[in-house]
Amino acid sequence: MGGAAGGCLLRPGPALLTAGPGGGGRGPARPLGVGRCSVSAGDVAPAAPRPGPAELPGPSTHAGVSGNHFVFNLSLSLSGLSGKKRLLRAFSHCRDFNERCPQCSEVNWGLTDGGRFYCRSCHNVTERSREVVNTDFITNSRVQTISKGSRKQEKNDGGCEWYICEGFQLVLKKQVEALEALGVCPQMKDEILCNFWRCYLQKSKQAYCKRPAGETVKALSVCESSTDVDSDPERPSLLHLLSLSESEGDLQTDCSFVSSVSKVSESTSVCSGSVDGSLYLMKNQKEKLRMTMPMTLSFCYMALLWVREPITLSELLRFVVEGHIPYLNVFQHFPENMRLCGLDLKIFCVESWPVYEEVFNKMHELAAFLDLPRFPDITESCFLHPDMLCMKYLMEANLPDELHNWTCRVVKKTGIGEVDFLTLMPGNKSTRKVKYDVLAAAVIIVVLKLLFLLDDHYEWLLSGFAEERNKNNTEGGPYFEFKKWYEVVKHSLDVEQKKLDEERAKYLWRCEKPLFYSVKNKSKVLKRRQMVVNLQNQFGKLSGSVQRAEKPNPSSFQLRWSEENTDGSCFHGHSLKGILQEKHGLLTAMNPDYWLCTVKLCNEKLCGHLAHYREVEFPQSYHFVLGLFSFLLRIQPSYIHDEVCMIEHKLFNKKLSKKLKYNRVLRK
């Protein structure tokens, strides 16, 4: 079933996704044709037109250069312009309206429904209308920003005004650039991720929309009010700022919000480097799906899935942990004058590794939130199709290529290879969300159970027979011996696991650019940082290894087995003869039995799991196999177990409903 041919494509090469300049590395090392479809403009349309052409700078911007590249624009134009203006310019290319009001000489403009500027200080309506700028934006642009012409462009400390969403945008930019360097298709950045992001900004009412009036002003006032206003006459007073607010009815809630904040951290002034940091954290944004650091990875994964890149989520997260994709300390790449402090730290400072489940679930929430249409089909030729992934994992688990026939049979029988099963349909609650990598691993485990039973007895029995046969048999490929395989893989796994555990303990979390909560403790933080560096140098010398190990080249494979090794540690070419028998011209397993992991599945929506895995209740061999894939995918064994249960129930659905009242052992 195409096992051999496909296998060649996926041999553990130097790197499946070589890091090269631009897309250059995507040449020979890449499994061409596997999983990646060509991305045409038609494919990516959903991000742009979804919210309706009138609201997003839709098709027209789609073709326009600046629209596609706004991800760049933001960071390039950071210096000099105030945050608001930058954002505005980047999104809408509209011009500032900086003139003073002829009546009261304030610069505080709002827009009327008719698209004309009016002065919010004296309610004088001018003749000037937005038509001059861009009609698309009359109803959607962030009008508030126009009125901030009077705001100082630079804060006293030399930092500039910036918004949380700008921060996340920079993070996304860095991440997608890293992905590009790893070899994903170059369109992903400008045509896919960029449009997802724009769509998100609009849906979450951060841009391209009518903002709730005065929101940012209030955020600012909160920020200012917590510092000593009197000492700084340059800054607008709290009252002055509040007077800018249109809906003074909210004043009360804002004040209580200030006090609650100061209770949280009394020692430090609650402030943020960003304009809206405090508001971002405090406001109940349930309806908005607030952006978080793990969600940046959800964005990346969603884009990867959209273009059907040959990267699984577990791989993506591994690349993050290995440092190939910026995540931890990504703020160090922020421009110098984009200062982070106070509450910004809570948003951008990451102190844990991303978790599969979280990124996965958020991605689905996000896809639904953005109202995305059905994703491009996952067909048999896609990398994420279980037949493909099984091939990869069989290879990585050092199992015989022949098993691929069996995984394909299971995939076919259970229907989990169907396009409708595999393709993501955002917001469809009736279908189960597919974890492609976990699913493939589970298929392999089910196949192993079918052939070897994995009851801590039968697999050793078969192994004994194979050993006997191998003694007498000198011709052809050797028979697959479960015992030998176990010994070889177990040894490698132990070594790698130990290495990983030590790496986790040795993981360096901090970067050279330390963050400080407030200016007050800046010098203290810097001193600490210096001391840490000094101590690291000292003990580095004592340990005899000043040089830290360089990060490994990114690779799709964590375990490598080569048939060129003559030590017989590679089982890819081993044969399943002896385990199989021919019946009616069809190969079937010698093993007539099967045990189910569970007879009844749990309700995943209610309890979060399909099944419950307790190590002691299952055979050691089964646990070993789960552990192996748990290591490869870097997720908990119980998640793979869930998936195994799901496949089993699909596979034995008919028999199960009939025989449920009997015991757990089923005859095939």
Partner: protein, 411 residues
């Protein structure tokens, strides 16, 4: 449950610490240093009010690693200076540790300098909180002053022999005395074990003839109930009294307490000797008790002196025929384990080979306590006679003659 397995900063550092501890237990100093290199990051998140936070861990473990690594003192000093800035709450402890390290490396002057610096440290309330450590710092400075005094004294004594005295050196010496005496006097007022300080202070006092003060200090050190029980306190007192030529009675009462605390102390030989010579029966009896008790301890097993003390007293009693009941009483609690402990045939063989006079004394005791048929006595007397040694023949005769005594003891 995913949170449980989520690797975060704290968990990563906890794992790191346990790797460090493993490496330390296995004396893999380099490996420990390697992990500590990664652990130091936790300083940047040290907001904890835990009893032992990362900074203390780094100080303690780092010092240990430095101690076992080939690194220059310069590096170590640099490390210590950083540790001092890291924790005001244990500033003086870190200083002390640093000073010990300097002393161990023979850098007396640097140690003295550091002590003076530490003494002048002021940090608001913290100075008061670390009062005890400050006293220790001062005491150690006193100790180093004593060391200088002692050096000057030796110079003077040498010169004195040449009939030549140097006034300047003498003045300097007296200066050291004053500085040392002030600080040493302070520390020994506080209840604690201050052996080294007490010894030095008493030495100073004795040199300048202040015997009353010295006596008082030693008395206080030995008998003040606020101080922890300390055998050395009684030893120092006894030695002082002996130097002063005090009466037997005083000496005996000093050693009596030592006997109560440490029955196996080496001074028990002196004690027994004194008691044996006493005219009072009670004291002689106590002497027997003392020597029996000492020999209960494995450390005395092959001490010929102790055995000769016992042999002498036992012999005396047997010859005089009086007070056999004393022996009987001491023996009754030991007769079921001493034979295996002291008088096995194996020991007889080994003692004979290694130390003839030890085996002689032991054989005498064995012969009287266990009779002429006991293995130890039989082997040793046989070997002695074979080697034609006169005193062993005498021994055999003596035991045979006094066999009835054995019967009375064992009966």
């Amino acid at each position: 449950s995913s949170d449980e397995h989520k690797l975060n900063f704290r968990k990563s550092k906890e794992a790191c610490l346990s790797y460090i501890q493993d490496a330390l237990l296995q004396k893999q100093w380099k490996r420990a240093a390697e992990f500590l290199t990664c652990y130091v990051e936790s300083l940047e998140k040290d907001y904890s009010r835990e009893h032992i936070g990362p900074s203390e861990v780094i100080w303690r473990i780092g010092t240990e690693i430095f101690y076992h690594s080939q690194s220059s003192m310069k590096e170590f000093n640099y490390f210590m200076e950083q540790m001092k800035t890291l924790g005001v709450k244990r500033y003086l402890k870190v200083c002390l540790e640093h000073i010990f390290h300097l002393l161990c490396n023979g850098q007396i002057d640097e140690a003295y300098q550091n002590l003076s610096l530490a003494e002048s440290w002021r940090f608001g309330e913290q100075t008061a909180v670390q009062d005890k450590e400050m006293k220790l710092i001062q005491a150690y400075r006193g100790l180093l002053d004593y060391y200088s005094w002692s050096k000057q004294k030796n110079i003077l004594l040498e010169h004195g022999e040449d009939g030549f005295s140097d006034l300047a050196v003498e003045q300097e010496m007296h200066g050291y005395f004053r500085k040392a005496a002030v600080n040493l006097k302070e520390i020994i007022k506080i209840p604690g074990v201050w052996d080294i300080f007490v010894k030095c202070y008493v030495d100073l006092l004795e040199f300048y003839g202040d015997h009353n003060e010295a006596h008082q200090v030693l008395n206080e050190y030995a008998y003040n109930s606020k101080f922890p029980a300390n055998p050395n306190a009684h030893v120092y007192l006894y030695q002082f009294l002996k130097r002063q030529g005090e009466s037997k009675k005083t000496l005996i009462s000093a050693l009596k307490i030592l006997h109560d605390i440490v029955p196996s102390h080496e001074l028990m030989i002196d004690f027994n000797t004194m008691l044996q010579k006493s005219k009072k029966r009670k004291k002689r009896r106590m002497g027997l008790e003392v020597i029996f008790a000492a020999l209960d301890y494995a450390g005395w097993k092959e001490n010929a002196k102790a055995w000769s003390c016992l042999a002498r007293q036992v012999k005396q009693i047997v010859i005089s025929g009086k007070h056999l009941d004393w022996i009987k009483q001491e023996w009754s609690s030991r007769k079921d384990w001493w034979p295996a402990f002291h008088f096995s045939r194996y020991l007889a063989k080994r003692n004979w080979q290694e130390n003839k006079s030890l085996s002689y004394e032991k054989a005498l005791v064995a012969g009287i306590l266990l009779g002429k048929d006991c293995k130890y006595f039989k082997y040793v007397s046989h070997q002695g006679c074979k080697a034609q040694l006169k005193r062993f023949r005498m021994l055999k005769k003596f035991v045979n003659r006094h066999n009835p005594a054995y019967l009375r003891i064992s009966g």
